[in-house]
């Protein structure tokens, strides 16, 4: 990170000096022709740019001066006034000051680096409570508040968030200014048993900027990330537009702009990143307690807990993961006698692994237990009327397993206090889908079961297909789409009054999007070739006919404002390249509407 910053600083100094040089010339022209609007405007723009550059590097003084001068010039521009000699003097003075600061920048940066080195070796105060302390997190909060009243608290270990979540038992660490005074303050606190000084060992994560963590409203972070996401998407469109402009000036500014933007995005993303270990670390204890209660022997192995994900992703999958592990222990792993009989090692094994694949994260939970019997699935499906006898043979293994993801589906007859019936996999699928991912299951009788979840690391931006129906544009998340194709209209046939199509030996129901939307259009009915997406929703595959494809893109998802957000058929809204808003479809909800669709006669 430091080397990057050095690059920017050099770049900044170079650019700033160039701008100042240009300003010099502009001011001289202003002196000759005070009312020439283009000169004033160019000078205004330069100060605006300087302000932005200085702000992004944290050079407050340069930022403030530029801001001031930009403001004055803007006024002149607005009111068509001419530049007076006083203003010109002021601007010259401002420019001189900026020049001085630019000189000093080099020195400042060196000093900051040294400052950080010292921060590295500044020790923590370790605070230990008495054994009988009640609510240690609250006690820690009281102490931290007290310290904050007198001194500056630079860092707390574990973080305040973790402490609040109950993450300490009797010890925590504080790094602050004026350790001596703080130690004395602590010595007089009754709940405190011991106070000592500890130095951090090994590689320490220096909080960027030298000062410790701060608490930020999570909503603000969400908005910040959303806006930065939008900026990135629009910036790339700007780039495309400007790539047609030959002017080198635009290209250079755009380059700098993009570099800063990328940095900004990285930082915003990093702020929200938390390691999977926050939840993975709870699993071993959970498995141990649960298996003891059930008198089973179960071990757990975890891989990939270092991987960092967006905190809202972690919050979202936390429950499903625990439930899946619970399922594995309760319903997957057999009791020791059974395992012995099957010649399996007595201790059942659960494996949790997390892997990063391109922009997604893959989490697998597998057990070497009894697996799920396909016949039982078929049996339950028949019982529940989800399947007819005749259809049984036509189903592939994948389709059989898909039944497990249906609401209310469970092959477990027994309900007991500890394990209940097992969490419905449909709930897991819903939650994973809500974060933009997909879930799959593979299982083999007596061998075991593996649940695989694939989720995008960035929640705010999803890939969508743009489709047009009845003149209106909609976005369909790619997670639902298996393929897109153009099919000749004559390939659609009718079976028992419903439209179907035969695709590579697979019979798929055909639905027309405009029909589902309720404004059945005649567009495309008689077209020779139809735009068609093969989608999969909750295990059901079907063909969706739309009027036109309009490509695909990365979309920044914005939530719909109330009361629109209550419409279940749309998960949100996004603004596409030309500024148009475009509703994002929630395909499962559309499935339920399908029943009322005009079947096309």
């Amino acid at each position: 990170m430091h080397e990057d910053r050095d690059q920017y600083i050099e770049l900044f100094r170079e650019e700033a000096r160039e701008y100042l040089g240009r300003l010099n010339k502009l001011l001289i022209e202003m002196g000759k022709d005070p009312t020439h609007i283009e000169t004033i405007t160019e000078a205004f723009r330069i100060f605006h740019t300087l302000k932005g550059m200085a702000a992004s590097l944290g050079y407050k003084e340069i930022e403030n001066i530029s801001h001031d001068l930009e403001g004055r010039l803007e006024e002149l521009k607005e009111y068509g006034k001419g530049v007076s000699s006083e203003i010109i003097d002021k601007i010259f003075k401002g420019m001189d000051t900026i020049e001085d600061f630019i000189e000093k920048i080099g020195e400042m940066e060196d000093k900051n680096k040294k400052g950080n080195i010292w921060a590295k070796s500044s020790p923590f105060i370790k605070i230990t409570f008495k054994e009988d302390v009640e609510l240690p997190a609250a006690r820690a909060a009281v102490i931290i508040k007290r310290i904050e009243e007198e001194e500056v608290v630079e860092e707390i270990k574990p973080s305040f968030e973790e402490i609040k979540a109950g993450g300490i038992e009797d010890t925590f660490w504080v790094r602050c200014s004026n350790r001596k005074a703080v130690k004395e303050m602590l010595a007089s606190m009754e709940e405190v048993k011991e106070v000592s000084i500890e130095y951090e060992e090994g590689v320490s994560k220096i909080p960027k900027g030298g000062v410790g963590g701060i608490r930020v409203n999570i909503e603000l972070l969400d908005r910040l990330q959303n806006i930065v996401g939008e900026l990135v998407v629009f910036s790339s469109q700007l780039s495309v537009l400007l790539s047609e402009v030959e002017d080198k000036k635009y290209k250079r500014i755009l380059d700098i702009h993009n570099r800063f933007l990328k940095d900004l995005q990285n930082i915003v993303t990093k702020i929200r990143l938390v390691p999977l270990s926050l939840i993975f670390n709870k699993f071993p204890r959970y498995v141990r307690d649960l298996s003891k209660e059930l008198r089973k022997k179960v071990s757990i192995e975890i891989f990939g807990s270092d991987i960092e994900v967006d905190r809202s992703l972690l919050e979202g999958i936390s429950d499903p993961l625990i439930h899946l592990i619970r399922n594995a222990v309760c319903h997957g792993i057999e009791d020791p006698n059974e395992r012995k009989r099957l010649n399996k090692p007595i201790t059942g094994k659960i494996t949790v692994s997390a892997k990063r694949i391109k922009g997604d994260i893959l989490i697998k939970i597998s057990d070497d237990g009894k697996g799920i019997d396909e016949r039982e699935i078929l049996h339950t499906a028949l019982e529940k009327g989800l399947l007819k006898e005749e259809e049984v043979d036509a189903l592939s293994k994948k389709e059989i397993l898909h039944f497990l993801f249906m609401p209310g589906f469970t092959t477990n007859k027994a309900v007991n206090e500890v394990s209940g019936r097992g969490i419905g996999l449909n709930v897991v699928k819903d939650i994973v889908r809500a974060v933009g991912g997909s879930v799959d299951i593979s299982t083999e009788k007596n061998k075991g079961t593996t649940i695989t979840m694939e989720m995008p690391l960035s929640m705010a931006i999803i890939r969508v297909y743009l489709i047009q129906s009845n003149g209106q544009l909609f976005a369909l998340p790619m997670t639902f789409v298996d393929e897109t194709l153009m099919i000749p209209g004559i390939f659609i046939s009718r079976l028992m009054g419903k439209e179907i199509i035969l695709l590579r030996k697979e019979v798929l129901p055909v639905y027309r999007f405009s029909g589902i939307m309720g404004n059945y259009s005649n567009d495309g009915i008689n077209d020779a070739i139809l735009a068609c997406l093969i989608v999969e929703v909750e295990g059901e595959r079907f063909a969706l006919i739309v009027d036109r494809f309009r490509g695909s893109c990365d979309a920044v998802v914005k939530p719909l404002p109330p009361p629109l957000n209550e419409i279940r058929e749309f998960t949100g809204i996004t603004i596409i390249g030309n500024g148009e808003p475009c509703l994002i479809i929630d395909l499962p909800s559309f499935r339920y509407r399908r029943r009322y669709e005009n079947t096309g006669s």
Binding site: E134, L135, A137, A138, A141, V142, K145, K164, G166, E190
Partner: protein, 121 residues
């Protein structure tokens, strides 16, 4: 001169118990309130040196009542009263300005220690 305390709790029983402990410890109970709204009124009326505030109450919560009192008096000394399972709420209350806390069921010595600590501030 004995320090004056305002007790806030929706349960008569708790108020009595706390009141007895505090009086035995030499404090004066200047008023009692059974909900957050009353708490603010009584605070303004009797201007106590310290307030004990139950963290879970119907209508407005202990934390909201705390915030209202602190709006009226930035230096208000409020001690939260909580049952065992509400640690994060207590932390929230401290972040909002509570000076200390005691946990139910009470140990009279702990209650008096906490009150002493806070009054010393």
């Amino acid at each position: 001169m004995a320090a004056r305390v305002l007790i806030v709790d929706d349960a008569i029983f708790m108020r009595k118990m706390l009141g007895d402990i505090l009086e035995k410890g030499g404090y004066e109970i200047c008023a009692e309130a059974e909900n957050g709204v009353e708490a603010v009124d009584k605070y303004v009326e009797c201007k106590p040196d310290l307030v004990t505030m139950d963290i879970i109450m119907p209508d407005i919560s202990g934390i909201d009542a705390l915030k209202e009192i602190m709006k009226k008096d930035r230096d208000a000394k409020i001690v939260m009263v909580s049952a065992m399972g509400h640690q994060s709420l207590v932390v929230e209350a401290i972040q909002a300005g509570a000076k200390d806390y005691v946990v139910k069921p009470f140990q009279p010595s702990r209650v008096l220690e906490a009150v002493q600590r806070v009054l010393r501030l």
